[in-house]
């Protein structure tokens, strides 16, 4: 559609169709004062400051709500408008402390000045934490109000201090409604609302209860949009203005939110989501918004290298520590050392780590925790499509007509992507949630399929069968773009709906409804996470999603595809960097002679073409003393890996263990040498988020203590081991090397990333990146249908262990808690393990809510508090793995998927007993 042309204050303005007058004015750099307007919210028209005069229009329309039309003639600053604005602002100020606003000495008043007029502290801007960041002050200056003649009254509303992270002082509230709207419209939480009416109207929670009881997720969106000091982060309140701000990437989940770190000196005083980007568009979650500064500046951060002497850690110098590590590692035979890299580290750190293993140690004994989360995505989607990454981009999800979210608790694990799901639903999209647990998303799902843990192949094959039987598939797409359909169709014969209903526990009608919803509402997008992958048939599960998508032609188009939601901040990147036993960066096989030759030429050494063992296999080998030393970077397997007792024994069996981390984790405590690494805030580099977007991590503060960046430490060890090619001066150089050797990263450089992230494949320096994969053809050529069979989980409940244990995650905690448990506010939200158990199971076992229970599997036992809740499926209990004092992974089953070698975290058989204490 053609653009609209209009005249604003005698200026010709051209804007897109559908733009408002306010947006048109902004585009033309014409300022119109606003308070209730916010670009991420729908027009509201409440504050009435943005009124304008429009020719041929009655009254004084608000520019924020009035659509611009062709030929419109607008005036934004007539004497009448200014007079009414002064009137409106004066009314606002009768309820908002303003003594300083109208003070004629305000220009000369500095911080900490004592005011001779000495009004009550509640009436002053200089005693407000939002001073000089307050939008009311900006508006006031434009409107030129000289005095407030109407009587001011302090409303004497008690200030809410009771919740974690931020205070609510409604005495400063101007009822712009931004907080209420962002909570409802963008976050879908609805934790706050308008209460009362008339002059008593206010923002509040239901029955004025604390936010913690009102469904608040503490995402901080309300704080971010509040124009005044009504909502303020408690810790940040009296810090004044920041000296500077640094844009970087969030270190938590794989969404890759862009965050502004606001700094004062060498201290982070506030972390705010950046709005000027494609990924999070001004949103964050509780961890990114409030869970960063406290762990970065925590006094338990490792500040010096440690060496264990007589069972005790002793501080040492970098020189000594590095020399020790290098000389020890040099002393083992080839294949006796393994490197475990980290999905939390940057691409550059990971690249250097894998190069270290391959060049300095001459081994492919190398893996990292991606093995435990998305290995089946790499194998499964690799086999079906040729690439194991998300086919589409996060923000497309909001425009999908149908979303199948299977095995993902997106609201808890990828909160900002969950907003896209909410957006899709609000736009009328259908949401099918398939999950054994009644997760938060069920609240707004069109359909909830509550399959038994581990029955996903049957469920999806059942859906595929309905789609084929009812002719809802896309024959043209199947013919042109795929292969092996006939064999796949044949395999559907085993999945008649009676069998599927019996196997999954999902009623037939629901399976049919799901199949129809998915096949007929296009574009349809599949989202999945560890509910599918962490299974002894994880690869089959992933292939089943690929089959469904190809069957309905939902690949290669906007808002469609198969989208594995990557868990950690850089799990995509660490795989891309080849921190895996079988591939070099860019998934180039170590067994391929041509590729081996390429890397040998580049790195100047002979390389090993034998793929190494995978993560669980490394610990098995260590247990069997085949592997004698491990160089472990930024992981905590004692808490995170399955059958943790076994892992601990394996680590104890080692001759030499080096752990490199930011805290003395449970695993680090077992180490011989501990090397202090920098956190994300102290280093440069890149993370690749779940949608394949490579984004910059920028150094915001100097390293804490003597901490050093991981790439630097690894390089130093390598150099001491006389390995070549480790003379890096900065991560930018490392990225240049990555780009030279990795086709999909070929066009990526720090220079280009300054302008924003790039989605791989980005083969050349002029390539714009690839938001959607497989648009014209699949990466592997034709999409491959895989016939599947149902296989039950490796361990099923029996008499002795009658219940199923599945592992889960909470929004306010992250992974093994190394970072999040350093944040008191997050602990206040979720601070301890709660075993979710269905009321029926609980009552059969005589367990009441809050009782301590003992959970026992064939591998170990754990004691924790029970939470009796209907969110748990009958027969299934759920536990988190955030809490080292109740390490659920002592129970989990290390049974592996034969292809991807992922262990089966999601299903094991347990017994639950009421515990005496």
């Amino acid at each position: 559609m053609a653009n609209i042309k209009l005249t604003i204050d005698d200026k010709q303005v051209e804007v897109r169709q559908g733009a408002t007058v306010l947006e048109a004015a902004k585009a033309a750099d014409i300022y119109i004062p606003t308070l209730c307007y916010h670009p991420s919210l729908t027009p509201y028209g409440a504050c009435r400051l943005c009124i304008v005069e429009i020719e041929k229009m009655r009254g004084l329309p608000t520019s924020c709500t009035t659509p611009a039309t062709d030929g419109m003639v607008v005036k934004t600053k007539t004497p009448q408008l200014q007079q009414f604005r002064r009137g409106v602002l004066e009314l606002l100020l009768t309820e908002h402390p303003h003594t300083c606003l109208v003070c004629d000495r305000k220009e000369r008043c500095g911080p900490g000045n004592i005011c001779l007029r000495s009004p009550n502290v509640t009436e002053r801007c200089v005693t407000c934490a939002k001073n000089r960041r307050c939008e009311l002050q900006q508006v006031f200056d434009y409107i030129e109000l000289k005095e407030v003649t109407l009587p001011y009254s302090y409303r004497e509303i008690p200030i809410h201090h009771e919740d974690p992270f931020f205070d609510r002082d409604y005495n400063l509230c101007i009822l712009c409604g931004r907080c209420v709207r962002v909570c409802q419209e963008v976050r879908g939480a609805g934790a706050i609302a308008f209460t009362m009416r008339g002059s008593q109207a206010l923002v509040g929670t239901a029955f004025d209860r604390p936010l913690q009881e009102s469904g608040c997720q503490f995402c901080g969106a309300c704080v971010d949009v509040c124009p005044t000091g009504a909502l303020l982060e408690r810790k940040r309140k009296w810090e004044g203005l920041p000296d500077r701000s640094v844009l970087t990437t969030c270190p938590y989940c794989g969404v890759g939110c862009q965050l502004e770190l606001h700094l004062k000196g060498d201290r982070i005083i506030e972390v705010c989501p950046s709005s000027d980007n494609e990924v999070n568009r001004g949103q964050a979650c509780v961890k990114g918004r409030f869970g960063i500064q406290e762990f970065v500046h925590h006094d338990k951060r490792l500040t010096a290298p440690l060496v264990k002497k007589d069972g005790q850690f002793v501080e040492t110098t970098w020189e000594k520590a590095l020399d020790l590590v290098a000389s020890k590692l040099s002393g083992y035979g080839k294949g006796e050392v393994a490197v475990i890299s980290s999905a939390k580290n940057t691409n550059e750190d990971n690249y250097v780590a894998q190069k270290f293993a391959r060049v300095a140690l001459g081994t492919n004994n190398l893996d990292h925790c991606a093995r435990l989360c998305h290995a089946p995505s790499v194998t499964g989607l690799g086999a079906a499509f040729g690439s194991g990454a998300m086919t589409n981009t996060s923000h497309e999800i909001g425009d999908a007509a149908c979303i199948l979210a299977i095995g993902t608790n997106t609201c808890a694990t990828h909160p900002v992507i969950a907003l896209e799901i909410g957006r899709a639903v609000r736009q009328g999209g259908k949401l099918i949630v398939a999950n054994p647990q009644q997760i938060d998303m069920v609240r707004f799902a069109t359909l909830w399929l509550r399959q038994r843990p581990g029955s996903d192949v049957a469920l999806m094959m059942g859906m595929a069968r309905v789609i084929v039987d009812e002719g809802l598939h896309d024959p043209a797409f199947i013919d042109e773009r795929t292969e092996n359909f006939a064999a796949f169709k044949e395999s559907l014969k085993n999945f008649d709906l009676d069998f599927v209903e019996r196997t999954t526990g999902v009623p037939k009608e629901k399976i049919v409804e799901a199949a129809r919803l998915y096949a007929t509402n296009k574009p349809a997008s599949i989202l999945y996470a560890m509910g599918l992958t962490q299974s002894s048939h994880g690869t089959d599960n992933v292939m089943a999603t690929a089959n469904l998508a190809m069957l309905t032609g939902n690949v290669g188009k906007p808002s469609s595809g198969v989208n594995p939601l990557r868990g950690q901040n850089n799990v995509q990147g660490s795989c891309d960097m080849g921190a895996l036993p079988n591939v070099y960066p860019g998934y180039q096989s170590v067994a391929d002679p041509a590729i081996k030759e390429k890397f040998e030429a580049a790195w100047g050494v002979k390389l090993n073409d034998k793929p190494g063992p995978t993560l669980v296999e490394i610990f098995d080998a260590a247990y069997k003393e085949q592997i004698k030393a491990i160089y472990l970077i930024g992981e905590n397997p004692v808490v995170s890996d399955p059958d943790a007792n076994h892992v601990e024994k394996a680590l104890e069996a080692l001759d030499f263990l080096v752990v490199q981390d930011i805290f003395l984790t449970e695993t680090a405590q077992l180490a011989d040498v501990v090397l202090p690494a920098t956190s994300f805030a102290e280093k440069d580099g890149t993370f690749t988020n779940t949608e394949r977007r490579v984004q910059r991590v920028r150094k915001a503060i100097e390293p804490i203590g003597q901490a050093k960046p991981d790439w630097w430490i690894t390089s130093q060890i390598a150099r001491r081991m006389e390995a070549k090619g480790f003379n890096y001066e900065n991560p930018s150089q490392i990225m240049d090397e990555i780009a030279r050797l990795t086709p999909s990263y070929g066009g990526i450089s720090f220079d280009r990333l300054e302008k924003g992230g790039l989605q791989w494949p980005c083969p050349t320096s002029d390539h714009p990146g690839t938001p959607i994969l497989h648009t014209k053809q699949f990466t592997r050529g034709k999409g491959h249908f895989t016939p599947l069979e149902y296989r039950p989980p490796a361990e099923l409940p029996d008499k002795e262990y009658p219940l199923v244990l599945t592992t889960a995650r909470k929004l306010a905690q992250y992974h093994t808690g190394t970072m999040t448990r350093k944040v008191p506010g997050l602990n206040a939200i979720v601070g301890e393990e709660r075993v979710d158990i269905n009321p029926a199971d609980a009552s059969a076992l005589g367990i009441a809510d809050g009782d301590m229970v003992k959970v026992t599997s064939r591998r170990g036992e754990v004691v924790a508090k029970a939470k009796v809740t209907g969110t748990a499926q009958p027969g299934v209990i759920a536990m988190d793995f955030h809490f080292a004092e109740s390490p659920v992974n002592k129970l989990t089953n290390p049974a592996l998927d034969p292809i991807s070698k992922i262990p089966e975290f999601k299903v094991c058989a347990v017994r639950v007993e009421k515990n005496g204490h």
């Binding site: 608000t62 009035t66 409106v88 009587p151 009822l175 008339g198 002059s199 109207a201």
Partner: protein, 648 residues
């Protein structure tokens, strides 16, 4: 059964009822009747009939409009017109039944009028009574006449013939006919109804909604309630007509929850419509489908504003939103939606029954047809009326309303509820139509008329309405939320005698700003009572501010009571009745009011015997009285008149 057969049957039954040999008794049991005790009267009738073993048909009907006469009972005996009795009490019933039903004495002394053919000696024709003669009952034609819980009585009186006719027309033809009728929205804004329907009909989209706005919230307004209670089918038929014309298949009636009887009668009506295929799928055998949902309001005045109303139906907080987009384009659930008020819908039904030309024959050139008003306040005959537009205010207030009660002086009338304005006595010859009322600074509104007399302080009246809109503001937009509060504060200050020079200008400025800058109709009209009283009664404001005087003597803070020494006889009646013991004085001592203790309740003034008239209420001046009680000095004898009045 075809609809024609239904009609024939209904008419036959109606005729049979009229020819019936049993006596028929009608009791007005609408909310106004019930408030006056109609249910007890009904009870007494039933008891008396069974006691005497009289076989009579007792019917509950809606309000005929004469609220001041409630409870009203009508009795029909064969071959006699219907006789209306006013202000009936349960105690009167045995005698009335004995006199009229048993002894055939129609008691002309108790009767108010006759309705229908024939006459009874000594009883006037009800419709020729001065209060009814100027009225034209179109919307209210059935109210008080038919049984609102019997669809057949509605059908027998021409009901649903409008929709039957409409189903044979194209939607465009229906809209055209409504346009020709000149009907304008009776909710108050007066937008041409046909044009409004056309906007919605032409809006892009498959699904459309219509809504009946029955959230009548103005203090002193009860037109819609009476209509829904007395003749719900007329509104429902209008909705069928509109839905057909617009192409809507879903309808909502948003009725305030404070109208339980109206809701109950609507529910009964809907059920009966289902029986006769007048709602649901394939209405009257056509392809036209309409479902009608009753949605009870959430108790907020602002929910009468259309965008707030839709938000409320959607389950959200009832807050208005900015337009565009207009509801005709994106209304309920984002779909094209047409909202009309109860009376407008009822009008469209009768227009389709009797034709546009007939309807356009009433009213003025720009304001066609009739309008219902509720007359309240200091008027002699409160009630519900329906008059042709273009009638003079004088006719409404004096001919229909009977002027001011207790012989007081007429001062002003507030039209349009709290959003309307005060029209002063010197504009009594103003014609009541949309344009004239707007020109006078007021609005038609949904039809509330509150009459003020000489005892009404106009500043206080403005304050009263401001109190209402201030507490009913939704709190969304700044001018309305804070502006109404600040204006109210100023008015309260002025009525307390704490007004300051410049207040009037400031108030005017604030009022204009709130009017211009508010988001919705509530805020935009909230200042009307102030603006019109400032326009017509500025002198009262000035008296309050400059002289600390309330000319009407209504603002207690500005009023003082004194006992006149030359009139007080020391009878001690006022002293004994003073609730705060503020009066000093013994027998035959001139009493003195302690002004510091006095709470200005006026009891002394009311209690002082008429023959003395010793207590006086003054504002803005002081009266010299003794500081302490002193003996009464002998006075000339009281006149003959007062003696008579004083004799028991």
């Amino acid at each position: 059964m075809t609809f024609k057969e239904v009609q024939e049957q209904a008419v036959a039954e109606w005729e049979a009822l009229q020819q019936n040999q049993k006596p028929r008794i009608f009791v007005g049991t609408a909310t106004c009747g019930r408030a006056a005790g109609a249910m007890a009267v009904l009870d007494a009738i039933n008891k008396e009939l069974s006691k005497r073993n009289i076989d009579a048909i007792v019917t509950q009907v809606g309000c005929i409009g004469l609220c001041y006469c409630e409870p009203m009972v009508d009795i029909v005996k064969p071959n006699r017109p219907r006789i209306t009795y006013a202000n009936v009490t349960p105690e009167m019933i045995p005698q009335l039944i004995e006199d009229y039903l048993v002894n055939d004495n129609p008691r002309p002394d108790l009767a108010m009028g006759t309705i229908g053919k024939g006459s009874v000696e000594g009883i006037p024709d009800f419709m020729q009574l001065p209060l009814l003669k100027p009225q034209v009952r179109i919307v209210l034609r059935n109210c008080g006449i038919i049984d609102p819980e019997d669809i057949k009585q509605y059908i027998a009186n021409g009901g649903y013939s409008g929709i039957a006719r409409v189903l044979g027309m194209t939607p465009e033809q229906v809209i055209d006919e409504i346009k020709k009728s000149g009907l304008r929205g009776r909710g108050g804004a007066g937008f041409p109804t046909g044009q409004k329907w056309e906007f919605c009909q032409k809006a892009p989209g498959k699904e459309r909604y219509i809504i009946c706005n029955a959230d009548e919230g103005d203090p002193g307004a009860f037109m819609n309630r009476s209509l829904l209670e007395g003749d719900p089918h007329s509104v429902l038929e209008g909705m069928l007509v509109g839905a057909y014309a617009i192409g809507a298949n879903h309808a909502y009636i948003y009725c305030r929850a404070e109208y339980p009887l109206a809701i109950e009668r609507l529910k009964i009506a809907l059920k009966q419509m289902e029986e006769y295929h007048l709602v649901g799928n394939n209405i009257l055998g056509s392809n036209f489908n309409l479902d009608i949902t009753i949605k009870e309001g959430a108790g907020a005045f602002v929910c009468g504003e259309e965008t707030a109303l839709m938000a409320s139906i959607e389950g959200k907080r009832g807050m208005p939103r900015a337009r565009p987009p207009f509801p005709a384009i994106a209304g309920l659930w984002g779909k094209p939606t047409n909202i009309n008020n109860v009376e407008t819908w009822a009008d469209t039904a009768v227009i389709m029954q009797k034709g546009a030309a007939w309807y356009a024959g009433f009213g003025t050139e720009k304001s066609k047809g009739t309008k219902t008003f509720s007359l309240a306040g200091k008027i002699s005959r409160t009630g519900l009326i329906e008059v042709p537009l273009g009638i003079k205010l004088r006719e409404i207030i004096y001919d229909i309303g009977g002027g001011i009660a207790n012989g007081k002086q007429y001062k002003a009338v507030q039209t349009g509820g709290p959003s309307g304005g005060c029209i002063p006595a010197n504009l009594l010859d103003l014609t009541v139509d949309y344009e004239s009322l707007a020109q006078a600074g007021s609005i038609m509104g949904s039809g509330g008329m509150v009459v003020a007399d000489e005892d009404t302080c106009m500043v206080d009246m403005a304050r009263f309405f401001l109190t209402f809109v201030q507490s009913e503001s939704c709190g969304k937009c700044t001018p309305c939320r804070v502006g109404t509060k600040q204006m109210l504060n100023m008015l309260e200050r002025i009525t307390r005698g704490e007004g300051r020079p410049g207040d009037i200008e400031h108030l005017q400025e604030l009022a204009l700003m709130v009017k211009s800058a508010s988001l919705c109709g509530l805020g935009q009209t909230a200042a009307n009572p102030i603006l019109t009283t400032l326009r017509y009664f500025k002198d009262e404001y000035e008296a309050h501010i400059n002289e600390k005087r309330c000319p009407a003597g209504a603002c207690t803070a500005l009023v003082n009571y004194y006992i006149l020494p030359d009139k007080c006889e020391g009878c001690m009646i006022c002293k004994r009745n003073c609730p705060v013991e503020a009066i000093a004085g013994d027998r035959r001592m001139i009493h003195v009011i302690n002004q510091k203790k006095c709470i200005k309740c006026g009891t002394c003034l009311d209690m002082c015997p008429e023959r003395f008239k010793a207590v006086t209420k003054v504002s803005g001046k002081k009266i010299a009285v003794p500081s302490e009680p002193i003996p009464v000095v002998a006075k000339p004898k009281a006149t003959q008149d007062t003696k008579v009045a004083g004799t028991p």
